[in-house]
Amino acid sequence: MNIVLARIDNRLIHGQILESWVPNLRANCIIVANDEVAQAVMQKILMKAAVPTGIQVVVDTVEAASQLLCTDELGDARVLLLFANASDARKSIEMGLALKKLNLGNMHAGSGKQQCSCTIFLDPADVEDIQKIQDSGVQVTSQCVPSERKVNWTSMFVKMVKN
């Protein structure tokens, strides 16, 4: 198994994933690690129905998805892994998920969040989670779609502190 992209995206599976990232990275397996969707039968069915045939979709809790990714059950799949937020990504890494890189895709506005890019809005808890993730040796960058330039977390953080 090869994790070709691990991404935080609160829209989970959506247009940018299906039309941009999947073809660009030739991913053939999408794993959604999200406790809420894992319990939402209807949403799970619709989510799977939107993915082209030939691409495996696994929707499970953060814990179960992390465990699955620590086994060799997925064979030589090219995995695109989605988390809805930084805290889930951190949890997964703390559970033993080995990640080299983490992409920040969409983390949208909410109360008390500070904007750091077009689609990234963070509160202090998000910043702490991302810092912890980076400190554990994961390279964190922000990039909405493959055609955009990557921005590394450290420079985003420095810019945020200045503002």
Binding site: I13, G15, L18, M47, A50, A109, C118, T119, C144
Partner: protein, 135 residues
């Protein structure tokens, strides 16, 4: 009186309704929803619930037309589905929109949705094929 919501990425929905209006005139009980990259999910859900309230007033049936299956407009639109009263069709195009306004009162929501699904596909033509048919 059926209602219509067109929901797409960027401003395509509003422009499609404008194009439709320029061909057949005013479009009663219709709303466009533009989903932008930077919009958060709660904001988009609010756009849908406001639009549904407006075009689906008094329990009227509503058809939601969206661009791509699996895209955010369709993903969020589907969460408002009420079989028989609110349904959603992807792959919106102008022929489908025109047909909606020209046939919406003669069919039930299910019949209308099925018909538009087929019509939207049949309305796509390749010019060189049309030419071949004439020869």
């Amino acid at each position: 009186m059926k209602g219509l919501i067109v929901a797409t990425h960027a401003n395509m929905a509003g422009e499609l309704l404008k194009a439709c209006e320029s061909i057949i005139g005013p479009l009663p009980r219709s709303r466009a929803i533009s989903v932008r990259r930077e919009d958060n999910i709660d904001e988009i859900r609010k756009l849908f619930s406001d639009a549904l309230e407006a075009v689906g007033a008094d329990g009227a049936e509503v058809l939601i037309l969206t661009d791509i299956l699996g895209g955010t407009p369709a993903n969020i639109g589907m969460s408002f589905m009420e079989p028989g009263r609110i349904d959603l069709l992807t792959g919106v195009n102008l022929p489908m929109l025109l047909k909606f306004f020209n046939s919406k009162e003669s069919l039930s929501l299910n019949e209308l949705a099925e018909m538009l699904k087929a019509y939207g596909q049949q309305a796509i033509h390749l010019a060189s094929d049309l030419l071949k048919r004439q020869v």
